[in-house]
């Protein structure tokens, strides 16, 4: 009974983590950017969906779409206002661009967070779920919303896999992650590929944010923890490796659910952090990372 409960809840959480971390690792793999405003973009999507549905009464579907659109806009803003100027800057030495991108996106994330807090307060918000009601699976009462979340996450990840491996644009993205110079020599514009990747990232982060808002609820305080969890999942799986992140998301998701059910919800994040430190010591490049 309890085992099934852990199995089901853990699956939904893990799928959500996987979706959130996929976009993050994709950007790192292709353009070497660690986007520390990730949590803020997810929260922006969730709060936009909540505001659209609860304040402006546009309905749950339209609300969810608005949430994803806001995340897309925020992702482009991050790229064009913060990341690209730093990458193109001639005043910043190349070997320091990484730390500047980290600092810049971190500050940008705080700005988004503060704007959200200013207009919509710090209170926790739960987005109205698209599907309501409860079903019984293997004797566990499960909200339909939880099943919906898991299905959407898996579908989106499958679509992403098709996009990257089966379309021309996707193959260009894949090639850029392997050898950026080679791609330029083949006559493809690297900037265009980056724009595509940031668009994919925006949509993924938006969907993950809106689902998170329906499933667990968000507030502007969730920004930091969300960024930290995406960061640790991605490092655990190996920076830039999408399949590694998927595995890591399930490991972390189940570890947290197990701890929450069997020990105490207060200790939820501790085992995952310990595992992370352990993996960093014995295998610094992560589970499936290449160096």
């Amino acid at each position: 009974m309890r085992a099934f409960q852990i199995l089901i809840d853990g699956f939904a959480i893990s799928a959500l983590y996987a979706l959130g971390a996929t976009g993050f690792t994709l950007i790192f793999g292709v353009s070497g950017v660690l986007n520390l405003s990730h949590g803020a973009i997810m929260v922006a999507a969730a709060v936009a969906a909540w505001a659209a549905a609860s304040i402006f009464n546009v309905g749950t579907y339209a609300g969810a779409l608005i949430g994803v659109a806001v995340a897309l806009v925020a992702a482009f803003a991050t790229y064009f206002a913060v990341v690209k100027p730093i990458q193109d800057s001639r005043r910043i030495p190349n070997e320091e661009k990484e730390i500047f991108v980290l600092t810049g996106t971190l500050l940008w994330g705080i700005m988004i967070q503060e704007v959200i807090a200013y207009f919509f307060t710090n209170n926790a918000k739960t987005v109205l779920p698209i599907v309501e009601g409860v079903v019984e699976i293997l004797g566990v009462r499960t909200p339909k919303n939880e099943i919906f979340t898991a299905i959407v996450c898996c579908l989106v990840i499958a679509l992403l896999w098709l996009l990257v491996n089966r379309t021309r644009t996707g193959k260009a993205v894949l090639a850029a992650s392997m050898n950026p110079r080679g791609v330029t020599l083949l006559g493809l514009e690297l900037t265009n590929i980056y724009v595509v990747v940031w668009a994919i990232y925006g949509i993924l982060a938006g969907i993950a944010g809106v689902l998170l808002g329906m499933f667990l609820g968000v507030s502007s305080y969730s920004v930091g923890p969300l960024t930290a969890s995406a960061f640790s999942i991605v490092v655990l799986g190996g920076l830039g490796s999408v399949s590694g992140s998927l595995i890591a998301a399930f490991v972390v998701g189940y570890l947290e659910t197990l701890t929450a059910y069997l020990v105490s919800p207060a200790y939820r994040t501790i085992p995952a952090l310990l595992l992370l430190v352990f993996v960093m010591y014995i295998r610094p490049q992560g589970l499936l990372g290449r160096r």
Binding site: L34, V82, P85, I86, S89, R91, I92, E95, E96, E98, I99, F100, L102, T103, G104, L106, L107, W108, I110, M111, E114, V115, A117, Y118, G224, A228, F231, S232, V235, L239, A266, Y267, T269, I270, L273, L274, L276, V277, M280, Y281, P284, Q285
Partner: protein, 308 residues
């Protein structure tokens, strides 16, 4: 080193310290209190700059070192009744041990991986403080019975003197041969090693020095506040402020980091009437500095001087 004592930077710093030392004679206790906190923060930022600017280690967890020092001093005083000065010394020592623990992964992993390890260290410390609430006061914080002194002017002078001495030592270190080796090993570890320098030894030294000053400053700050809480000395947001200060003031300048910290704290106070927007404005200004003056305040000033 000898040229420093005749340089313009030295005279400007000396003048600033002298002016700052006379402030208690004519400004209110409120301003002094604000600057006292800003000076302790300045030491946090300078210690971070030594580690990042020179050793090239992206430390996302300055508050791990600060928090260990602050909480060790606070717990020894509040739970075991030790007197103030042994607590401060032991706080600094605990922080040095924490710095050694943090340095272990730094010698194995680099770049973003090390950044994450330090971030995780902060999150773990935060979790443990909440879990061992009996000892640490948990989320509410720990009330500390003793203070160094209640005189606002004396507190201010202690903070100013502490910052000046720390600045002198950290700046001297950064300009010494050790600082140059650190800078070389941060930029190209392989080549620095090939030139015969022991990178591991130098990096460990940088961690120990950085941890010592962070912990000492954290312990002093706790006895100034009369309380130790996650929100003031451990939270990731505090660490972000330390990093922003150092980047704002100018990396690799050490002294700039202190300027950045003072600016950040004073600006935050001036913007208090704007309410919740204060953090937004400070972050926006910091972002603009990062984008348009990547050398920071002191970096921009120094490069202008070099050009003219």
């Amino acid at each position: 080193m000898s040229s420093f004592f005749t340089s313009r930077l030295f005279f400007i710093s000396l003048a600033l310290v002298v002016i700052a030392a006379t402030l208690p004679l004519y400004v209110s206790g409120y301003v002094l209190g604000l600057l006292t906190v800003a000076f302790y923060f300045g030491v946090f930022a300078m210690s971070w700059d030594l580690l990042f600017g020179f050793a090239g280690e992206v430390n996302f967890g300055p508050t791990f070192l600060i928090g260990v020092g602050a909480y060790t001093a606070g717990i020894l005083n509040a739970q075991f009744g030790w007197s103030v000065y042994p607590c401060i010394v032991l706080g600094a020592l605990a922080s040095v041990i924490a710095g050694l623990v943090l340095a272990l992964p730094a010698l194995r992993v680099r770049g973003p991986y090390f950044g994450l390890t330090t971030l995780v260290a902060v999150l773990m410390l935060q979790n443990f403080i909440v879990v061992f609430a009996d000892l640490t006061g948990g989320e509410i914080g720990l009330t500390i019975p003793d203070v160094i002194t209640i005189n606002a002017g004396a507190n201010y002078w202690i903070a100013l003197g502490f910052m000046t001495i720390s600045a002198a030592i950290l700046y001297g270190l950064s300009q010494s041969p050790i600082g140059l080796v650190l800078q070389a090993s941060g930029q190209d570890p392989v080549q620095a090693g090939a030139l015969g320098f022991n990178i591991v030894k130098h990096k460990l030294a940088a961690f120990i020095v950085s941890a010592f000053f962070s912990g000492l400053s954290g312990a002093l700050l706790v006895f100034y506040f009369g309380t130790a809480s996650v929100g003031t000395v451990v939270d990731v947001a505090v660490g972000v402020n330390v990093i922003v200060s150092a980047v704002l003031g100018g990396r690799r300048t050490v002294l700039g980091a202190a300027l950045g910290a003072i600016f950040l704290i004073v600006a935050g106070e001036f913007l208090r009437p704007t309410g919740e927007l204060a953090t937004f404005i400070v972050s926006a200004v910091a972002l603009l500095v990062v984008l348009f003056f990547p050398g920071g305040f002191l970096g921009a000033a120094l490069s202008r001087e070099a050009r003219s």
